[in-house]
């Protein structure tokens, strides 16, 4: 059997090529290591926390990686979309509180509140994304330096406007009743919010994968990530695809922000910047343009952060930087980046 036929065989059976399969297995397996020094119950709690955190970072990172991969744009305003989503969610929850849909609300109303918040964030983020892309990002194609400067400037402006519209102080977010508290599963305390975060994250991943793998739009975007020119000569207005992807990325980041606000129950204007750093690390680890890569990277970062924060708190962020450095040394394009 020729190696080409063998490769094709594995591909057809599992849907991905053997190298990537190997990467997946190794990356997942390594996370059982902390069981060596952490007891199983605490490990379970930390794992859930880590997965939840990872999912929320994934929401921001997924948009960021697509924007890099397709448009070759370094968007440092992504954090601004995140924090705007958070504040929009906060205000909406305050408004919903007045009709009793938050504190003391039943399951249906709670779910309704959260869904409304996600929807609002999606819309606000999407609009911000379109406006930013058409006004500013458009001017920066081809120059990474310009992108960094302009998107950083835009980020500053957006965060300052946020401080004017709301306030520069921290705010407390009220969480819908049904999502407060936790369940006791075999002695492991599982916070409800974390489960919600994981569910939302998985849903988003599934949604993105569906669009990317099964729809014509997905084919166009994946093709564009590999080679914009060919896609354009096949008759597609790649600029419009850019705007669309930028808009989707911004919307996702805003949704991430809303989820984070419910998750952490408090928000502050600088949270966008903080989340952006994590998202950047995840995108680097996962590889530019790869959504599955950033999913993997996000889980890694979330888990690593929580395991290390439990053992050696001040090293938590440092651990992630170390992981990023190690991965870049082995595979400079990231886990699933283009070779």
């Amino acid at each position: 059997m020729t190696s080409q036929a063998a490769t094709v065989g594995i591909q057809e059976k599992s849907g991905m090529d053997p190298k990537k399969l190997g990467v997946w297995t190794a990356s997942v397996g390594i996370w059982f290591l902390p069981l060596l020094w952490i007891d199983p119950t605490t490990y379970a709690v930390l794992t859930v926390a880590g997965l939840a955190m990872g999912m929320l970072i994934f929401l921001t990172a997924s948009g960021l990686t697509l924007i890099f991969g397709l448009m070759d744009v370094l968007n440092l305003a992504h954090g601004a979309f995140f924090v705007w989503g958070a504040y929009v969610g906060f205000s909406l929850l305050n408004a919903l509180q007045k009709i009793g849909w938050v504190e003391g609300a039943g399951a249906a109303q709670s779910i309704g509140s959260v869904m409304l918040c996600l929807l609002a964030a999606l819309v606000v983020g999407g609009i911000m994304g379109i406006v930013l892309e058409k006004m500013l990002v458009r001017l920066t194609y081809g120059s990474h330096l310009k992108q960094i400067l302009i998107t950083m400037g835009a980020s500053l402006i957006l965060v300052e406007v946020l401080k004017v519209v709301w306030s520069p102080n921290d705010e407390v977010v009220i969480v819908p009743q049904a999502f407060q508290g936790s369940w006791d599963v075999m002695d492991v305390i599982v916070t409800k919010c974390r489960v919600v975060a994981i569910v939302v994250g998985l849903a988003v991943l599934a949604g993105i994968q569906l669009v990317m793998m099964r729809t014509k739009l997905g084919i166009i975007v994946r093709a564009g990530v590999e080679n914009k020119e060919v896609v354009e000569t096949l008759g597609y207005n790649i600029r419009r695809v850019f705007t669309g992807v930028f808009c989707a990325g911004a919307a996702l980041a805003a949704v991430g922000g809303t989820m984070w606000s419910i998750f952490k129950e408090q928000i502050h204007p600088a949270m966008g910047e903080e989340n952006l750093i994590f998202a950047l690390i995840v995108v680097i680890i996962g590889g530019m343009g790869s959504v599955t890569g950033s999913f993997l990277g996000a889980i890694m970062v979330g888990l690593a952060f929580n395991y290390v924060a439990y053992t050696l708190p001040p090293l938590a962020l440092g651990a992630n930087i170390m992981i990023m450095a190690v991965i870049l040394l082995i595979r400079p394009t990231g886990l699933m980046g283009k070779d």
């Binding site: 400037g153 500053l156 300052e160």
Partner: protein, 372 residues
Amino acid sequence: MENKAMQPTPVQMERRALRQVRFTRPALWVQLLLLACLIAGPLLLPSFRAMDVMTKVMIFAVVAASYDLILGYTGILSLAHVTFFGIGAYSLALVTFHSGHSAWYHIFVAMALAVGLSGVLAVALAFFSLRVKAIFFTMMSLAFAEFVFILGDQWHDLTMGEDGVSFNLPGVFNVNWSSGTIFGAPLNGRLLTYYFILVASVLLFIGLVRFVRSPVGRVLKSVRDNEQRSTALGYKTFHYKVLSNVFGSVVASLAGVLFAMWLGYVNPTSVLGVPVMLNVLLMVIIGGMGTLYGSIMGAAFIQVAEAWLPDLQKLAVLLLPTVEVAHRLAERWILYFGILFILVVIFFPKGLVGTARDIIARRKLRLAEPNH
């Protein structure tokens, strides 16, 4: 026998031509004027605020120029430059603080520590920049800068965390030292510290200028413009990149030491924060990438703005005492910074000095044309 070694090389010929016009070039007069202002400044305007702004302009001009070396001349976009600045500042602060008293040798120990640490770190970063694509390196450097910031913020035992470190300078530099007046201004620790910083900054800046005009600097420009060509010509571009990175980073850390000397207090936000990095980047962009002298203009612009823009809020309250939105808008002077950032990048991509040089060059070209 003819001595072929006597034939001047093109570089030597250019240098000779430059040297001949050295004292007549208008740029030189501007530089001397600037220097005169800095020397006379504190004597003419003894207010603390004026001296503070001038000192910060000097120090940040050096930091921005050292960043320009790496960004404008070598073409590497690193967002970790502020880390070196912070290392320098913390070196002096921690050495003085942890030894319990202040002594002269502290300054030198701090400088040596800063240079050593920065040098090693710069080499490590340069290694990474070779290994990964430019855009990855930029993102990585940003993450790294944030990491060091958080380290400084959280490592209470060493750095006192976000509270920062307060310390005093030794001998005549001490804020409490004073002895009469000189040229009408009070002769005290502040004044002497100012002049020390002035001399040090000028030396560091001249060092950068000489570096850029040296043969090494030429190779750097060729690496920036067309790296493949430089490699093909036989230059080990990596070595040159590392060299310029190290030099720029070390200069920045020495500027950090000076900054600590002036403030007598360091904390993570003022010397390690990403906003400081952004400021430096903006200074280089406003002044003009690849011009070194542009950094002086950029630093002046930004520091003056930062010193006086917060007063905008007071103005707003004065003019429109009841319109609260106006107060809030005026309070957010960073907002205008952001708008400025964007406008400069779009309309003046070459910065002030860069655009000026462009205009002058174009005028010379037009005058040189025979008939039009």
